[in-house]
């Protein structure tokens, strides 16, 4: 063993793209297991981690497909490691079944989706935001996950660190829903020398008293990993507090409700958003990821044209911040939703504003980001409707 141990964290100021920042965020957060399958525009994450992880005592493996990649990280998580996978649209679709296994078995893990043009093979090298609803509803059944949307490489780093903390706190998969432009955009990224350790919740009782799915008062059960002497059974079947299959409707309803409530009841812990020039705004632009950054240009144009517009940027996409969006609707006359799909998060915005103000979508299916002019036109349109 080397005597001059250097910190695995690449602290300092760097010029790197969003994909690389995600890789570094994972290492800083203590992630030591990464499994993935090559896909554009995610590959820079895998490439960087294949180079970094073996040097910091971590494990990198390129699996045979994305199904194997997500399943391997679940295995690694049950062996006690912080684990991550990363992919793009087609691979994200392949991961959906085992996203559900992660939810059902309450396995902490982080899944990155660098979104590109879709459906199908679509536009492999070009931007889109078409998997926002899939992130929420893509696996079968009713469940709750956390999804975060970075708008810059710096935020990609910061949110990846946060994603690991949230996945341990709630024992849920946390998704980083980024996009090709943020993934490939080079910017200044400042990496701290240390980040707070996201500890796993461990059993507080000896093995003979331990019930692996008996939750703490906050509905999250402590987790006993392989080899720790607790000998737990983990199954994707509906199970009781012992972790044993229970095929009764009562057990199923109880379990699914807890899986949803353990996240839903604590919005203050994961709801992040940013407001820009909203104080005096009559029109609010609601957006996320790269589209939110473009929207700032549209807002500037609107302000020059005498329309007081502001930005509400979703950093947490899921669970959707209903209350925060409703509060925005109470303050403005109209809302514009800017996104690189033909209306996904806009439906959530419409639901959250409860008909209080008109909601207008500025949509593009992807392949390029919006222009500030397109956003401005959307703002003008809603402004006209509201007069």
């Amino acid at each position: 063993m080397s005597t001059r141990r250097v910190s695995p964290i690449l602290s300092g100021v760097h010029f790197m793209n969003g994909d690389e920042a995600i890789a570094e965020g994972a290492i800083a957060a203590g992630c030591r297991f990464f499994a993935a399958y090559p896909i554009t525009p995610q590959s820079e994450i895998a490439e960087r981690l294949s180079w970094r992880l073996p040097r910091v005592g971590g494990m990198f493996i390129q699996m045979e497909d994305e199904i194997a990649a997500i399943t391997a990280i679940l295995g690694a998580s049950w062996a006690g490691m912080k684990a991550m996978t990363a992919t793009s649209g087609p691979g994200f679709s392949l991961m959906m079944e085992n996203l559900g296994l992660a939810v059902m078995t309450e396995t902490p893990c982080v899944i990155v989706d660098v979104q590109r043009g879709a459906p199908s093979t679509g536009l492999p090298t070009l931007v889109a935001q078409g998997e926002m609803m899939q992130a929420r509803w893509g696996s079968h059944g009713h469940y709750e996950i956390v999804a975060l949307c970075p708008a810059s490489p710096q935020e990609a780093f910061d949110l990846t660190v946060k994603a690991f903390a949230l996945s341990e706190r709630f024992r849920v998969p946390v998704l980083i829903m980024t996009d090709e432009v943020v993934g490939h955009m080079y910017e200044r990224v400042e990496i701290p020398s240390a980040v707070p350790e996201a500890a796993r919740r461990k059993p507080k009782v000896p093995p003979e008293e331990f019930l692996p799915y008996k939750p703490d008062p906050d509905l999250v059960p402590p987790m006993a990993c392989a080899g720790e002497g607790y000998r737990v059974h983990v199954t994707g079947l509906t199970h009781d507090e012992r972790g044993y299959p229970d095929m009764s409707p009562e057990a199923h309803d109880r379990l699914v409700r807890r899986l949803v409530d353990k996240v839903r009841l604590f919005p203050h812990e994961y709801t992040f958003f940013e407001e820009v020039q909203l104080e005096d705004a009559e029109i609010a632009v609601v957006s996320y990821g790269i589209s939110a950054r473009v929207s700032l240009g549209g807002i500037e144009l609107a302000r020059k044209a005498g329309i007081r517009a502001g930005l509400f940027r979703l950093i947490t996409a899921w669970p959707f911040p209903d209350e925060a969006v409703f509060r925005v609707a109470q303050r403005v006359k109209g809302i514009v939703v800017v996104e690189l799909n033909l209306g996904q998060m806009s439906r959530e915005v419409e639901r959250a504003v409860r008909g209080r103000v008109p909601v207008h979508g500025v949509f593009h299916a992807g392949g390029r980001i919006h222009t500030p002019e397109e956003v401005f036109q959307g703002i003008e349109e809603v402004h006209r409707q509201c007069r």
Binding site: P54, H233, G236
Partner: protein, 287 residues
């Protein structure tokens, strides 16, 4: 059907536990398997092999997929993982790589490991991933009602090959050997002791090891193919199996009515994934 004489049940001795009970979640019994199924024999052979190996139970993890065999994990008093259909091997890969001290065993069925999970099997074998894979092959999908599987012999009737199977089945021994497995054996549930020995060898051999266990499924496969009860299927094995250690894996095809090979086909050494990874990491100054 003639009424058969029932054997008296084994005498229950109060206060005496079966020596294998320490490996089992006895509170979960009775199990879900049908009478005449080979899974009980396969499971007890596994438990006997654990006893022989003398491993600390806390150092063993068993991973399974979905199906009748997939339920094995749930009866073992170990760290056990009942994953999604076909994905036991990648889950086991994650467990093993993240905790190399753990003995990781995959115990699953033919449909799970070789139809939906076939890709994972060949790649884990290619990498010489440090896991043991045990496949209980009952020639059909038992749990879902007896459908055609990747090992269903030609001509066999299943609920989705009602006119007889015309697909070419896999020869699992040949598949495992050619994909890179460093230990390959096949036995039937008639051979409890040989099975136990094969499990001991497969579990203690480093790298990717594979044991195929031919097993009766009287409820679904046996009934539709007029093979009689579980015992009759074992009798069939007794009459048709040919023990030939070191035989060429490509000769291990199984055809109805024909003799078939059992034994140890492959037993070689080559560097495992973990050994090669550790070597690379050391060169890089990692741990």
């Amino acid at each position: 059907m003639p009424v058969k004489e029932l054997r008296a049940p084994p005498e229950f001795v109060s206060g005496v536990r079966h020596p294998l009970e320490r490996w089992l979640r006895t509170e979960r019994f009775p199990h879900i398997w049908c009478s005449g199924c080979g899974l009980g024999t396969s499971l007890s052979a596994l438990l006997f092999s654990f006893d022989q190996l003398g491993w600390d139970p806390d150092s063993v993890a068993v991973v399974s997929g979905i199906g009748c065999t997939g339920r094995v994990a749930g009866y073992l008093k170990l760290d056990t993982y009942h994953t999604t259909h076909g994905r036991a091997i990648p889950f086991a890969t994650g467990l093993k790589l993240a905790k190399p001290d753990l003995h990781v065993v995959v115990f699953s069925g033919d449909g799970d490991l070789f139809a939906i999970g076939g890709n994972h099997f060949i790649h884990a074998a290619r990498r010489n991933m440090d896991i043991a894979v045990i496949c209980v092959n009952n020639f059909n999908y038992g749990m879902t009602g007896g459908q055609l599987g990747p090992t269903t012999p030609v001509g066999a009737r299943t609920t989705t090959s009602p006119f007889g199977n015309f697909e070419h089945p896999f020869n699992l021994v040949h598949l495992a050997a050619s994909a890179g497995a460093t230990y390959v054996a096949r036995w039937t549930t008639l051979d409890g002791r040989r099975l136990e020995k094969a499990f001991v060898e497969a579990l203690s051999h480093k790298g990717f090891t594979f044991v195929e266990v031919l097993s009766p499924c009287p409820t679904n496969y046996g009934r539709r193919n007029r093979l009689g009860e579980g015992l009759d299927e074992l009798r069939y094995y007794q009459e048709h199996m040919v023990i030939r250690h070191g035989a060429d894996p490509k000769d291990a095809d199984i055809m109805p009515g024909n003799p078939f090979l059992v034994g140890k086909f492959v037993d070689i050494e080559k560097p495992t994934y973990l050994e090669l990874y550790a070597e690379k990491a050391r060169e890089l100054g990692g741990e």
